[in-house]
Amino acid sequence: MGIKGLACVAMLTLAVSVPAWSEEPSVDDAREALSKKDDDADSSKALAEVFQAAEKSYTLLKQGERTLTYGFDYSLLRDTQITTYRTGNNVYSVIGESEAQHTFTNSFTFDYGVWDNLTFSMRIPLVAKYDTERDLNVYSLGDLSASLRWQPWASHRGKPVTTLYGTLGLPTGTSPYEINPQNDLSTGNGFYSIGGGVNVSYVIDPVVLFGSVGYTYNVPANVDQVRGGRQLEKVDPGSSMSMSMGFAYALSYDVSLSTSYQMSQTFKPTYTFSDATLEGNEQTSALMNFSLGLRTSPNYIVNINAGFGMTEDSPDVLLGVSMPLDIQGLKAQ
């Protein structure tokens, strides 16, 4: 066996006997036993979890962790559009068209922890849209989006948590510039978008305050479409600024409420027609959203939210449900 072998046996014996030493009861142990543990159920942790489930963009995953979330959202947009038509060479007419767009979105969001402080996320929306005023409908993949969230500084108790984010939107949905606007509906933006911003959240038990600011650059797109009797050739959608703020409140271990306000300002788009260049209107969208988080089992939180738009450019009604997709069979056995 030799000296090495003896050393090994000695170390093993030592290792096995270590727990025996610490088994002796002490005041410290009693204090330790009574103090809070990480996996204890307490309102602060419940709050953090519920907040994470409701406001996914504020929180990160551990390295290698994966989650899949299913969301179902409904929104209603009622609007009356005044459209100008060129019927002859110089004859224009103005027609008011009312529309009521009911949009149902089933979305699957995949989150992956690249590092402990960097999370990659991807969202795949499947959109069904109905215009009940004009009797039109469309089913289509929506615009895919991907994002990275990075937390540059470790979080400390009593300090706000700051994360920076970058997003990329892909025009995989049906573009509003590649349809016949009289007969068809769109399910996407029709252009690429690149955005970034910062999220901040701050826990004051039993409340989490949160807020964000961001900027999105929308990439101009070349199009070929007849709009109001004119040939539309290029669209520069204009960039947008957005902000949000709100708070989440834990009513109990199982129930929490969250309220948020979101606002975004889209700068003037530019439409290049074959015979003229026109500027569109700035758009301001503002939304109030209320969500209820219900813990249906220790690790399973379902979120239900309802909201309303506060400007003409916003959806009138918003409803949604989201839940983690945790298919037991898919996890390694």
Partner: protein, 536 residues
């Protein structure tokens, strides 16, 4: 053994009589249903698998059979095939009489043949020619231990027909220079439920991408273009043309019955089209099983782009005519001929037909299994395809006058008039050992296209499908399956019998590019698939 056999024999003979009766009652079948699912067992058994287990493809054939999949299984499939599409155009004895006597048609007494497959690749250029058709497909299923439920999702192609005749001298280019009609189900959450020892139920929801892309040349062999050519030849002599030019100018360019006038490129798709399949499987004993499946329809609104290119002859002739007094008086009736290309957005309302199938599985002897299926397909949904354009097209200005109601300012109506079909299939399996099973099958598929609606665009008449294959259990958890299909369909369209291809009336401008020609088409498809199923 003998006592066990007698009811089976009765059942088999009864079913054969039933099938024969239905067959004699004038059955019709389908187009390309089930041809591209790529399930080796189903292929080998002629798609007579409604009462049988087909692994992960039960999502399509009968979701109730998903209950046969235990534990956690994954399947990968490789589907490959060749489609040999041919058409012959034979002139009739008095060919040309309907086009003012002109009979110098380069298409007459020629033929076209293509083997080039086309797939529609969404987001990657749409219609794409491929050197070989090869599609990898996959699916997974999960049956939690002890559960009566089996969950699954699968990727498969319920519809795929694509070919290219992309050449300026291909005789078939006036009805499909490039065509892709394709449906890919990319996500299909499904559940099978074992209700009791003998009864299983199943539901699958399919999320599919549907594409319809078409590139084709236009011509109009008939009296109208014959007259135009005759006028051109009579009036555009030196001297006469100069005198008449300001009044009526037919000398801008020469167009005739057999000239290509335009080319249309159409690219339509819908990235999400939901459907559902319902299935039931009843297995009262180990020698008999019955299954039935309903596959729902999908009402679609395909959207996309079009591009119309006009030949120099088209542009020259019509802009010349419009410049004369005669042209200006009748200007609203005629094309302008002032653009070489038009492009924009187009849309098409299309219904994916619903299907119903039912069948039985019999095991009269220890090593033998026989399957019989009957399938109904609701192709009468394909009555008309109306392609709507976002603006008035130059070609449509004339087509709407001479199109017999099949064209408007903004749309072309492709008259289909297809009919519902019943088809019948039979399959057999012989278990050589516990591990190896040999399979063969046959499916009779009468066409959904009536004789007076046949064309060269979708040249699928009554068809026969033959299948062969085997399954081999590699080990406890792994099986491999291999199947081949030979599909053959021939049709004959005598001149003037189908106003989708060869009618001669002056109002048949939409769309009879082979007016007065006798046409024979053949489609032969050789399809093979390999699948590998294992646990994970």
């Amino acid at each position: 053994m003998t006592t066990r056999n007698s009811p089976q024999v009765w059942a088999i003979s009864g079913f054969c009589w039933l099938a024969a009766g239905l067959y004699a009652g004038g059955a019709q079948a389908q187009l390309a249903n089930d041809l591209t699912i790529g399930n080796p067992k189903a292929m080998a058994m002629g798609n007579a698998v409604t009462a049988d287990s087909t692994g992960i493809d039960a999502v399509h054939y009968n979701p109730a059979a998903l209950t046969k999949l235990k534990g956690r299984q994954s399947t990968i499939k490789l589907l490959s095939g060749v489609m040999d599409i041919r058409a012959k155009f034979k002139s009739t004895p008095n060919y040309g009489d309907n086009a003012m006597g002109y009979d110098d048609d380069p298409v007459k007494d020629t033929s076209t043949r293509t083997l080039t497959p086309v797939m529609y690749l969404p987001g990657m250029g749409g219609m794409t020619e491929l050197p070989v058709l090869m599609a990898p497909l996959a699916g997974v299923s999960i049956n939690p231990p002890g559960s009566k439920f089996t969950f699954a999702t699968n990727i498969y192609a319920p519809m795929a027909l694509g070919y290219s005749r992309d050449s300026d001298d291909d005789a078939g280019r006036y009805q499909g220079r490039e065509v892709a009609l394709q449906r890919i189900t990319y996500f299909s959450p499904s559940v099978g439920y074992q209700a009791n020892d003998t009864l299983a139920l199943g539901l699958s929801v399919g999320f599919s991408h549907q594409a319809m892309a078409l590139n084709q040349d236009f011509r109009n062999p008939g009296m109208l273009t014959g007259v135009v050519r005759m006028l051109n030849e009579a009036l555009c002599q030196d001297g006469i043309g100069d005198v008449l030019g300001p009044l009526i100018n037919v000398c801008g360019a020469k167009i005739g019955p057999y000239d290509t006038l335009a080319n249309m490129d159409l690219d339509l798709q819908q990235s999400l089209s939901p459907t559902y399949n319902l299935g039931v499987l009843w297995e009262p004993s180990d020698w008999f099983a019955w299954g039935a499946t309903y596959q729902s329809e999908a009402r679609m609104h395909l959207q996309g782009k079009y591009r119309m290119n006009y030949t120099k002859e088209w542009q020259g002739f019509w802009s010349g005519l419009q410049s004369s007094v005669f042209g200006q008086v009748l200007s609203p009736l005629f094309p302008y001929g002032n653009v070489s290309e038009e492009s924009g957005s187009a849309s098409l309302n299309m219904v994916l037909p619903d299907n119903f199938s039912t069948g039985i599985k019999l095991r009269p002897f220890e090593k033998w299994q026989f399957n019989f299926d009957a399938k109904w397909s609701d192709y009468s949904d394909w009555n008309k395809f109306e392609i709507e354009f976002d603006r008035e097209l130059d070609l449509l200005r004339i087509a709407k006058i001479f199109g017999n109601g099949n064209a408007t300012d903004h749309s072309i109506i492709l008259d289909r008039g297809y009919q519902d079909t019943w088809s019948f299939a039979v399959g057999a399996q012989y278990d050589v050992t516990d591990r190896l099973a040999l399979r063969a099958g046959y499916e009779y598929r009468p066409s959904a296209i009536p004789k007076d609606k046949a064309d060269v665009l979708v040249p699928i008449g009554d068809a026969n499908l033959y299948g062969l294959g085997f399954g081999y259990r590699w080990d406890k958890d792994t099986t491999v399956d291999f199947g081949v299909n030979y599909f053959v369909s021939k049709q004959s369209i005598p001149a003037g019998t189908s106003c989708n291809v060869n009618c001669t009336g002056i109002d048949n401008l939409v769309y009879n590019p082979y007016a007065d020609l006798d046409i024979k088409t053949t489609v032969k498809a050789y399809i093979m698939a390999f699948s590998y199923t294992t646990t994970f």
